[in-house]
Amino acid sequence: MNKIKNYFSSFAQAIAKGDIWVKLSLIIMGAGYFGRKQIARGILMTLLEVGVLTSIFKVFMPYLSKLNTLGTVQREEVFDILTMKKTVNDYDNSLLILLYGIIAILVIIAFIALYIGNIKAVYRVQKMKEEGEHINTFMDDITSFKNERFHITLLTLPSIGVLLINIIPILFMVCIAFTNYDENHQPPTYLFTWVGIKNFVNLFTTSQTITFGYAFVRVLIWTLIWAVVATATTFLGGILLAQFINHEDTRFKGMWRTLFVITIGIPQFVTLLLISKMLGDNGIVNTFCSNIGITDFFKTIGLLNPGDAFIPFLSKPGWVHATIILVNIWIGIPYQMLVATGILMNIPSDQIESAKIDGANKFQIFWKITMPYVMFITGPSLIQSVIGNINNFNVIYLLTSNYKTANMAMANSHANEADLLITWLFRLTNEYSNFKMASVIGIVTFVICAGLSLLTFSRMIGGDKEGVYR
């Protein structure tokens, strides 16, 4: 709070105490520099001011002024039968209005900050002049970017990049969640507009026709279960596998390792699509199982109904969940094995030696020394992989692209039991052009992921735990 107060009071002070050049800078931003003979700097600043102001008024203003409605003029075209030419009116494109509107607001905010900063800087120069200090020439300024202000030189491009590929898209997506952008309102031909928090209300509503609330809770629960189970199984499996391969009695270590790494080598798209075919209701695995009697065995032990003709690996809830997790273990373990191998090789041998001397057996060493060490090293990356699994699109989507839900309430909101939030979102946009609900789901996913990371990271890395293993 104080900071903000200081920020503005020093601005006011600069205006009040500044001489004519500083006051002139309120209009022509370079004036303050001209007055101190910093001509190049003054020209640059003035050009920047002119450039930004023209772009705001010439380019952004038409969009910005429509941001409150997202456009009112719908596209209309007239086709001239005789000349075979089409006349199109000057129509509004809601998507562009939204996008340019967001950019315009960011530009304006940045410009205001620059403006205030500029007045202060000009006032600072005035004071320096009064006190007879050295005032930088243009060459001095340029060299300073190589020396004391090198961080600015270095970080300009990356921060522009972050702004362009992170901040603007996120703002854009957040905004879409508050509009009615769906299959009936698709730009460029049709307009969409603001609808407030209606979409969020829908997401948490359940009635016979609006079933988003029903579907959302179920999809969310499965997403979380999946993320935790998928991470835990591949992690444990990977460590155990690495432990086995690294064991002193294991021969042909290189060969085993290569064999497992080969599974990484084949693109996931190919393997997953093949597996989903193989595990299909009429796929090769089912044919095999019914030929050798596994299907009948499942019937006798009650896993299947007597009437079932096949094992529904990828077509019934429960079955599909188990299958997905098993397939993911097969796909995910090699990665974790590689990670674990690296860590296991770096366990300080003195700890293990001393444990041996103290008479610990192998299991105790693994459980009391190896595991805590590995957990400590991989903790942050485990959280990362939980989050990665929340958004693990490939495995789920490719395996269950043929899954059909028998649950009416799920179907009515285009979801199914095997969906993660991310695949649901994808299907809503890709097949049903329901961008508004997809954005809402996207935001909720983001909030969950961000909350999870913050919570666990602060627990894990916070305090003085970092020094424990030093």
Partner: protein, 431 residues
């Protein structure tokens, strides 16, 4: 993935904005050059159509770029390439650059709507996508025709199917996109394929498979419609549906008992083809897109007929179907609207439809080309056509219908399942 998605969305929008933002002002605003003879009618008048084409040729300078998207199959790509070459030869004074793209027809809508402004100028799409394309404003209205008049040359049903809200949007291309029953006449008799009850009984006896993809709204519709239920679309794209009526319940139960037969399968297309090649499937509901697969698998036993009947409340009811058509559409954002329209016309005229029929086996919608076409599949379609309806259904139909089909296959039909399905199908569309 989310990040990727958003950025993909954004990158595409930004790319578009970069070009459109600057370009929109320059977009073909008016062409006052050729507007000398301002007459009101003249679409059917040949003299003025020729004038219009002449105007267009005169107003064209530089290369005319047209992108054309059609099915990825080799037969299609080849015949369309030939037709495009012939089209270019028709107008020797104009320099064309027609680029052929391969996009599966089932995905056409999705691919076009990804970015309407960057999509092909001319594309082939099935009639069930018409509504979504019109709703997104992606289709150019066929305001006039210059080289032929579809109302005179094509079957009225096809022309009507290309209309939406009374406006014509599609150039009729094929009329064989519906479904019917393929069967192996060496193993099944005419009586066997007359009703589903007889068909499943015979297949059980033979130890073979028959079926229909019930867990798919497109096929499921035929059963309920055949039993006498209703499914219609309102103006706001919501649906009316009475499948939870007594008749609906009886139809669902009847279908459930047919589907409970060991011989009855609900295969998706891939599974169907695999099991067909294994020699397991002796009869299946499918369409002309699989004509080669079935004729290869059945050899001299290859036959096709209308769909069988099924018993509802003790009465034999004919299973209905959706009739299907393919259209050529012109993108509303096409770079050269005039030339794109002429190309679409050329590709859908009598000679072109005949060439497409010969290359792909798909039935023409042009009456002249149709009279020269004959095959078991097309005859079966013709026999089914009196029980076939035009597909006009709102987008909320598909997911609940698919789920309902799944429930029927699982043997879980009940009044409440039907009630839920109908609630989903008829859910209101927000505006």
């Amino acid at each position: 993935m989310k990040r990727k998605l958003v950025s993909a969305l954004l990158v595409s929008t930004m790319a578009v904005t970069a070009f459109v933002g600057c370009g929109s002002a320059a977009e073909e605003t008016t062409s006052d050059s050729a507007q000398t003879e301002a007459t009101d009618d003249g679409a059917s008048d040949t003299a003025s159509s020729e004038d219009a084409v002449a105007n267009l040729i005169a107003a064209t300078d530089g290369t005319v770029n047209i992108d054309l998207w059609c099915s990825e199959t080799e037969a299609y790509q080849k015949v369309m390439k030939e037709l495009c070459d012939k089209f270019e030869a028709e107008y020797p004074d104009v320099d064309f650059n027609i680029t052929l793209g391969a996009v599966s027809e089932a995905d056409m809508k999705d691919r076009v709507l990804e970015d309407v402004e960057a999509a092909a100028d001319v594309f082939v799409f099935p009639d069930d996508q018409l509504e979504a394309l019109v709703k997104a404003g992606a289709l150019n209205e066929v305001a006039a025709q210059y080289t032929y008049d579809m109302n005179e040359t094509d079957t009225p049903a096809t022309v009507d199917a290309g209309k939406y809200d009374g406006k014509q949007y599609g150039y009729p291309f094929t009329a064989s996109n519906g479904y019917f029953l393929y069967y192996d006449k060496n193993q099944l008799s005419d009586e066997d394929v007359a009703s589903w009850e007889a068909l499943t009984a015979k297949a059980e006896e033979l130890g073979k498979e028959v079926g229909c993809e019930v867990a798919n709204g497109w096929y499921l519709y035929g059963w309920f419609q055949g039993a006498g239920c209703e499914l219609t679309e309102n103006e706001d794209q919501s649906n009316n549906c009475d499948w939870n009526s007594e008749t609906g319940l009886a139809a669902a139960e009847s279908l459930q008992s047919i589907a409970s037969s060991k011989a009855f399968k609900s295969y998706g297309n891939d599974d169907l083809l695999a099991n067909l090649n294994d020699g397991k499937v002796v009869a299946y509901v499918s369409g002309t897109w699989n004509v080669n697969a079935f004729s290869d698998a059945y050899g001299d036993g290859y036959a096709a007929t209308k769909l069988p009947t099924f018993k509802v409340n003790g009465e034999d009811k004919q299973v209905a179907s959706y009739s299907g058509y393919k259209f050529i559409g012109v993108n509303a954002y096409a770079e050269n609207t005039g030339w794109s329209m002429l190309l679409a016309e050329y590709l859908s005229n009598a000679q072109s439809q005949e060439a497409v029929y010969e290359a792909t086996g798909e039935g023409p919608s042009n009456t002249e080309a149709l009279s020269k076409a004959s095959s078991p599949a097309l005859d079966a379609l013709a026999a089914q056509s009196e029980f076939a309806q035009l597909q006009r259904v709102g987008g909320n139909y598909w997911s609940p219908a698919e789920s309902l089909g799944k429930n029927i296959l699982d043997g879980k039909v009940s009044q409440s399942v039907l009630d839920d399905a109908v609630a989903g199908i008829t859910q209101p569309v927000e505006d």
